[in-house]
Amino acid sequence: MSIEVNNLNFSYGKIKALEGVSLDLPEGAIGLLGPNGAGKSTLLRILLGFLTPDQGEGKILGYDIKHQQSSIRRFVGYMPEDDCFIPGMDAVSFTSYLGELSGMPRQEAMKRAHEVLFYVGLEESRYRLVETYSAGMKQRLKLAQAIVHDPKLIFLDEPTSGLDPQGRKEILELIVDISSKKDIQALISSHILADIETICSYVIILNKGKVASQGEMAKLKEIDYSLYEVKIIGETQNYLDKLKRLKCKVEETEEGLLRIYMPPDQSPQEIFRLATEEGVQVRHFVKSQTSLEDLFAEAVGVD
């Protein structure tokens, strides 16, 4: 495991930013969530080796976070949230320049820069000046500079903000492909929960400096009681009456979705049996899980 920290504490003056944060993160893509000011960026800074924690210790990629900070940064890639570039440079020189700054020899950096720009899909505009890039292309370039020195660990801060739907899909595919390489770990901090849900297998929710909840995404989202979301087409009235007769509680949401709470002894197939009797179509049938948004709201202690 490349990130193991325990009991991290840090405070800016008298404001406590992190309290007793302990993490032991598995491979693959990990989501880092939390409301503004929950300590996400402080945690990122400590993991990136910028800040030394007041208390607590830990190892990143085997390097101690207090004493070997600059060697951590050699094997870590960071994709910042806001646009950053160097005016007057084209994409290839920009990427190879940053590769060299990470310690790569000059020729290797140039070779690797082309390779990485092909990978993120900037092949046909890699000789253009960076300031002429669109938002989506800048986002890809930031990803390219984060992986140019082949890091073992990449931190992505809001990787999909400001992208159009295609751009978001492609960036997410890139992240999934990189983090599925089993020896590269991606820590993704984003506010768009739909993205986190699609690409992360493990999630950490921070709130007020503490770890509110942490674990495998699937395990966290399970719920024990059997609640189903169903969409019915056709005349539904007596279908609903029959359901109620089976002691099922039925709730209707605005978009015409039924939330059916099945008592433990009833099997969900009853829904289909009744549907055939009533000649009604079951267009949508899902065992409902808590959405990441509800999970988030619950962990952060809001309605």
Partner: protein, 308 residues
């Protein structure tokens, strides 16, 4: 319903860069989502709507009035721009109050409206702090506040949820929906399609400077006849179910997902398909875990129409 916003073969380009070409549409009350890839003309449309630029051909009108340099019209328009830029040295309160004074409102009324807007976006506790010290989410909420402070009839929001944390997003979505109940017209532009779906079902898709689709998402999805619908079924015995489906003429393609229990069926007639499913399931005692249609959402409509 009379159209609040109307355009007649509206076209706009800057130098040789195409903005919009020959767009004619009507937008009624309620929330309308504007979406489209970057550089497709979405931002040009919003700029025309807020009078930042003037059309080359055609007209764009709000309540039958042209917008360019028609300043009285802005009494009833609220605009939340996309860029995250402010007068950094002002405090949130000063920023809001001063802007309200430009509406020829007396000082007391301006202050009271500013206070109300601050409460709605929950910034009252930090109203005396300088905007420079605001976090990204707070600045975004301040932008929404300045758009709604003067109680506009028409609200134009460009990426209103950008940079907000999930709680902030929920609040703003609830606020926008409350505006719909009050019978106002809200234009929301966003890249994050799930956000648009959470707010409204009516969308306008702009691509290559043209309107590719307008109306209710599902209605549009059904309109796309040529593109078959995909239905994903997860059950304990997908093979027997698949065998049954293959005989039906309306089933075009059947393939099995990665996991053992998943089956993907392509059909061009959903009604007949879904009418068949319950009977088959009961007849063969198949234990169904899940039925979903993965491409009945905005993302699929978008990908199909925009053709990537």
């Amino acid at each position: 319903m009379t159209a609040v916003i109307e355009t007649q073969n509206l076209s706009k380009w800057y130098g040789n860069i195409l903005g919009l070409s020959d767009v004619s549409l009507q937008i009624e009350r309620g929330i309308t989502g504007i979406l489209g890839p970057n550089g497709a003309g979405k931002s040009t449309f919003l700029k025309l709507l807020t009078g930042q630029i003037k059309p080359n051909i055609g007209r764009v009108t709000i309540k039958e009035e042209p917008i360019w340099n028609n300043y009285p019209l802005f009494q009833i328009i609220g605009f939340c721009p996309e860029q995250d830029s402010f007068y950094g040295e002002l405090t949130g309160w000063e920023f809001l109050k001063n802007l309200l004074i430009l509406y020829h409102l007396p000082r007391t009324e301006a202050e009271d409206k500013a206070k109300k807007a601050m409460d709605i976006v929950e910034l009252s506790s930090d109203k005396d702090r300088v905007i420079r010290s605001y976090s990204r989410g707070m600045r975004q909420r301040l932008k929404v506040a300045q758009a709604i402070a003067h109680d506009p009839e028409i609200l134009i929001l460009d990426e209103p949820l950008n940079g907000l944390d999930p709680l902030g997003r929920r609040k703003i979505i609830k606020l926008i929906k409350s505006y719909e109940q009050e019978g106002r017209t809200v234009i929301v532009s966003s890249h994050v399609l799930p956000e648009i779906e959470a707010m409204t079902q009516t969308i306008i898709l702009i691509h290559q400077g043209k309107v590719f689709a307008q109306g209710n998402i599902h209605y549009i999805r059904d309109l796309i006849e040529s593109h078959p619908h995909i239905v994903s079924i997860k059950c304990n015995d997908p093979r027997t179910l698949a065998k049954k489906f293959i005989h039906q003429d309306f089933v075009l393609k059947v393939h099995f997902g990665e996991t053992l229990d998943s089956l993907l069926v392509e059909t061009n007639n959903r009604d007949r398909f879904f009418a068949l499913v319950p009977s088959l399931v009961v007849e063969h005692q198949i234990e169904v875990k899940e039925i979903t249609s993965p491409d009945d959402n905005l993302q699929a409509v978008f990908d199909y129409l925009v053709g990537k």
